[in-house]
């Protein structure tokens, strides 16, 4: 017995008892009073029965679910198409939810994670973060009452060389010991860093992360006490952290922050991250207030440096959140994706609604009978909602499972490729919140897909009930559906265009030929550490580093070249296929022309892609010098000022003129120093292409002889390996580099032809995502359109019958039937094409994945869209033609009898 039944029993019992009491008070015997009360009441059983029926008519009950399940089987086409669409919508929704959670509502998976804070210093005039805040940190460390365990850390990438000579870069945090307290860092073995380790004279120690321990020390249980080489330093390992510890962000190794050895002058020294925990009883607001007080005092006391500085406090995990200054372009890109997908989800549910509406319309007479039997409008709506919910529930289960697979297998890799190392608190496993979100999405989807059509179909049901010819023209697709149809046609037009653009991009990247045998090359990206414990100012350190780089390079090169199988070693500022700088140039002829025309005449816009390379570059790459000469050793002198150009330069800048002897200089509008010195073109190199694979040309290549000290601490070594896989040389290269200079960091060692592998992966992933989206949108569009058109036309069967019977001309009848759908199609295609045009105009070119190429409105492009529009029209006509043919072929007498 249900609660409602029990309630009614109790209520009736109370009613009868009250009545009996009344009668007894009026003088009846209890027995007679009971009889009288029952007589007044009427049939108790019947009342209960009626009551129960009325309740079941009003409330959603399990029979609706059963009916919903039966409907899934009865209309398999709709189940598959609608179910697939809703699955996709929910899958996309969950993935968005998980991703958005990382940026919008980040939280630290640590005890008291919400009390861990970050302090940043902001220059309010420049509206930028002042990261050189060691001075401020030292001032606050003991002064702040509202923040405990205040600590600082400094990021560094250092080469870690373990005993067997294996040298690789690791992500190091030079961190205050309090960081381990803040982030609940209990070691797996040994100890964490202590304040004593921060003393200048303390022996050098390091704590390693769990993954590093496994990867580089093979999980050696005797790792404690081992001395390793870390850049120039030789710390002893004193602890191994437990799995998952990566504080401050995603660090692998920790060394003490020896502040006494660092430059602590105001607004000077290294960039640091400052963290702490809110003290007992303190809130973000009170702590901010205290910091602000300190900030104001510093602004007065250190007016020269701190006048415009303001300390700011934020939740620690917010550092990677939307409101941080972390790459607004990336955020914009993410936001665009979200908006795009969100639009898709709404559209999909509207679309499934369209299908369910057509299904409900085919059951109209059934629904009218139910109304006649006493079902209210709400009751019918709830029934249709339940049916949609059954479909949605099924879809949600599949969607969640797929989301889980997607998140586990691809999402983290996607983020890593885009953002590099991920913060330790980023977790993409399906959370209970995500499951709850799926439930909400399902209900939402069922509401859009079930309630909207139900409201539409039940409107005026009472009036239709009275009509003897139920259903004859009573239902029509109104304005909302027109919008849905137009929008879905538009999306169906837009999606394949995106896939097409991506495909063009992907094709260009895959087909990119830099003009030499990249597969024979090992590319080594190198950086040199700034000295770890240096009190020198940054500039001095940089100079020292560059000088050291130059000295190191010669030896490194000789030793690598001496390796068996090595055919040549050269270096360049950037690797072919990567990014080069585009610089505005001026030709000697231009200057002469400008002089003739007067100083006011605008100089022509000319941009060259500039590559700085070693003088041996062309020889090692086997690139022929087709005119003039190649570089020689003397060209590397800063006073030499010679350049070599490629065919692109000759074609696009010189218009085919002979490049040899041309004078070229760099101009920077607004630069007070004026243009650079003139460079003289001494040679023309054949074959090589300086293009960026993911950008459309034309590119005009301009090569300058470079020396390591001009590359700013980063350079790329290109090693040509004779026969076999160049990667086999990688261990030797690492070993040699570590031996020549331990502070030399090999950031990336890879095959040159795999330079863009990460980006290709992202584009491929994104392409498959959009391809799946497109297929779903297309499938759903076609099914939806067919359902709507077939429904509309079949609704007008009688009208067609009458027109045929009255001798109406076929063309006129067809026009009458097709007009509305054709207009809707036309509007949809127009809208879709407009979006594409707008996108190609707004983003003439871009270098991000999924971006559109320049001049997207090519002839082929327009042709593809026209073809696609024709296809859509074809399907639309198909949807209309089949039922119309049926109607036109039918005998008017028969047509008049159809509903």
């Amino acid at each position: 017995m249900s609660k409602a039944d029990r309630d009614l029993d109790n209520e009736i019992d109370a009613h009868l008892a009250e009545a009996v009491e009344d009668y007894v008070a009026r003088g009846l015997s209890p027995q007679d009073a009971r009889h009288a009360a029952l007589r007044d009441f009427g049939g108790v059983t019947q009342v209960k029965q009626v009551h129960r029926e009325m309740r079941s008519l009003n409330l959603m009950n399990w029979l609706d679910f059963k009916l919903g399940a039966r409907m899934l089987v009865k209309y398999p086409g709709l189940t598959v198409v609608g179910g697939l669409a809703m699955t996709f919508a929910i899958l996309v929704g969950i993935v968005i939810f998980q991703f958005a959670g990382l940026f919008l509502y980040p939280s630290l998976p640590l005890p008291n994670g919400d009390r861990i804070v970050q302090v940043t210093v902001r220059d309010v005039v420049e509206n930028d973060v002042e990261e050189r805040a060691l001075f401020d940190f030292m001032a606050w460390r003991d002064a702040l009452a509202t923040i405990d365990n205040l600590g600082a850390s400094r990021d560094a990438i250092r080469t870690l060389i373990v005993a067997d000579g294996d040298a690789r870069p690791v992500f190091v945090a030079e961190m205050s010991a309090s960081g381990f307290t803040v982030a609940d860092g209990t070691p797996l073995m040994g100890r964490v860093l202590t304040p004593d380790d921060e003393q200048p004279a303390a022996p050098s120690v390091a704590v390693i992360g769990h993954d590093l321990w496994h990867e580089r020390f093979a999980g050696d249980p005797n790792v404690l006490g081992r001395t390793v080489q870390l850049g120039d330093d030789h710390p002893t390992i004193v602890g191994v952290m437990r799995e998952g510890f990566g504080f401050p962000v995603s660090h692998e190794l920790w060394v003490p922050l020896k502040t006494a050895l660092l430059d602590r002058a105001p607004r000077s020294g290294p960039a640091v991250t400052i963290f702490g925990t809110l003290a007992e009883g303190a809130t973000l607001e009170t702590a901010q207030a205290e910091l602000t007080t300190h900030g104001r005092r510093a602004a007065v006391e250190q007016k020269a440096t701190h006048e415009h500085l303001e300390p700011r406090l934020s939740g620690y995990a917010d550092m990677m959140a939307m409101n941080s200054s972390n790459g607004s372009d990336d955020m914009m890109f993410m936001f665009l994706i979200y908006f795009f997908i969100g639009m898709l989800v709404v559209l999909i549910c509207g679309n499934v609604g369209l299908l369910l509406f057509a299904r409900a319309a085919s059951r109209e007479s059934d629904l009218i009978v139910r109304t006649a039997l006493g079902a209210s409008r709400g009751r019918i709506v709830s029934q249709l909602f339940t049916e949609a919910l059954v479909l949605g529930g099924l879809a949600a289960a599949v969607g969640l499972a797929l989301a889980d697979i997607f998140l586990r297998n691809w999402a983290l890799t996607f983020l890593e490729t885009n953002y590099g190392r991920l913060p330790f608190w980023w977790d993409l496993a399906l959370s209970p919140a995500a499951v709850a979100a799926a439930v909400v999405l399902t209900v939402l989807a069922a509401t859009v897909a079930g309630v909207m059509p139900a409201l539409k179909i039940t409107r005026g049901m009472g009036d239709r009930l009275k009509q003897t010819t139920a259903g004859a023209g009573g239902l029509r697709f109104g304005g909302v559906w027109t919008v849905v149809i137009v929008a879905q046609v538009a999306v169906t037009v837009v999606f394949p265009a995106i896939v097409w653009f991506e495909n063009v991009q992907l094709g260009r990247m895959q087909d990119f030929d830099p003009g030499f045998a990249t597969e024979q090359f090992l590319a080594v990206q190198m950086e040199q550490d700034a000295p770890l414990d240096s009190t020198a100012k940054v500039e001095a350190a940089t100079l020292e580093r560059d000088a050291r780089m130059a000295a190191t390079l010669a030896e490194l090169r000789d030793r690598i070249a001496a390796q068996p199988g090595v055919a040549g070693v050269t270096f360049a500022e950037s690797l072919p296929g990567g990014e080069y700088s585009e610089r505005r140039i001026e030709l000697g002829d231009d200057a002469a022309e400008a002089a003739a025309r007067g100083p006011e005449a605008p100089a022509p816009f000319r941009y060259a892609t500039v590559a700085e390379t070693d003088t041996s570059y062309f020889a090692v790459l086997d690139a022929p010098i087709v005119a003039g000469r190649g570089f020689n050793g003397a060209d590397a002198e800063p006073t030499a000022r010679v350049a070599i150009v490629d065919q692109g330069f000759v074609d696009h800048i010189l218009g085919g003129r002979n490049p040899i002897g041309q004078q070229v200089r760099f101009v920077r509008p607004g630069n007070p120093d004026g243009p650079s010195e003139w460079y003289s073109v001494v040679g023309l190199v054949g074959k090589l292409d300086l293009g960026v694979p993911y950008r459309k040309g034309p590119f005009a290549g301009f090569y300058l002889p470079g020396t390591p000290e001009r590359f700013g601490g980063t350079l790329n070594l290109m090693i040509r390996v004779r026969g076999g896989d160049p990667m086999t040389l990688a261990p030797q290269v690492r070993g040699i580099a570590a031996a020549v200079d331990p502070s030399l960091r090999l950031v990336q060692v890879q095959r040159l032809n795999e330079l863009n592998a990460g980006m290709l992966w992202v584009i491929r992933l994104w392409m498959s995502v959009t391809a799946v989206m497109s297929s779903v949108a297309l499938l759903l569009s076609l099914a939806g359109l067919y359902a709507v058109m077939a429904f509309t036309v079949s609704r007008r069967t009688r009208e067609i019958g009458v027109r045929v019977a009255l001798g109406g001309r076929r063309q006129r009848i067809l026009m009458a039937i097709f007009r509305r759908p054709l207009i809707q199609m036309g509007l949809g295609v127009l809208a879709g094409i407009s979006v594409i045009v707008a996108a190609t105009v707004m983003y003439p070119y871009s270098d991000g994945p999924g971006a559109h190429e320049s001049g997207g409105l090519t002839l082929a492009n327009v042709g593809m869209q026209a073809g696609y529009a024709a296809l859509m029209f074809g399907v639309c006509l198909l949807a209309c033609v089949v039922p119309t043919r049926r109607a036109l072929n039918i005998e008017p007498t028969v047509a008049l009898r159809t509903e």
């Binding site: 109790n10 009613h15 009344d22 009427g42 009626v50 006493g374 709400g378």
Partner: protein, 123 residues
């Protein structure tokens, strides 16, 4: 005797004069007297009609359910004057609005019919 057939409530039809009669009586009684439980409500209706309307009291409950479903009345468990646990019904805001519109419609309808009865006999 006035009897209320359930089916009268099941198909709402604005043109049906009888529709909503019991519902209207319930709403008006609750509006005039305030929250009541089922038995007291039935008795009040009978008393107000000076016992000319005798309800088959059981029919009140489906009617009350219907009014609840339309959210014109609300119910909650409480205690009767005799200390019994009973469900007490009260008028909601939308019930009050509904009552107002039913009342004016009623007056209009009865007014029209009244005019017919007042046609002077020309014979």
């Amino acid at each position: 005797m006035f009897s209320c057939r359930l089916s009268t409530y099941m198909v709402p039809d604005k043109n049906d004069v009888l529709y909503g009669s019991l519902g209207m009586l319930v709403l008006q009684t609750l509006a005039a007297i305030g929250p009541l439980h089922g038995y007291r409500l039935a008795r009040r209706i009978e008393q107000i009609s000076d016992n000319q309307l005798t309800l088959n009291q059981g029919t009140l409950y489906p009617a009350l359910l219907k009014l609840q479903q339309k959210e014109w009345i609300a119910a909650k468990w409480g205690e009767s004057e005799t200390g019994r646990r009973v469900k007490i019904y009260s008028l909601t805001r939308s019930g009050r609005k509904q009552l107002e519109s039913q009342e004016s419609r009623w007056h209009r309808t009865t007014g029209i019919i009244d005019r017919f009865f007042k046609i002077p006999n020309e014979a």
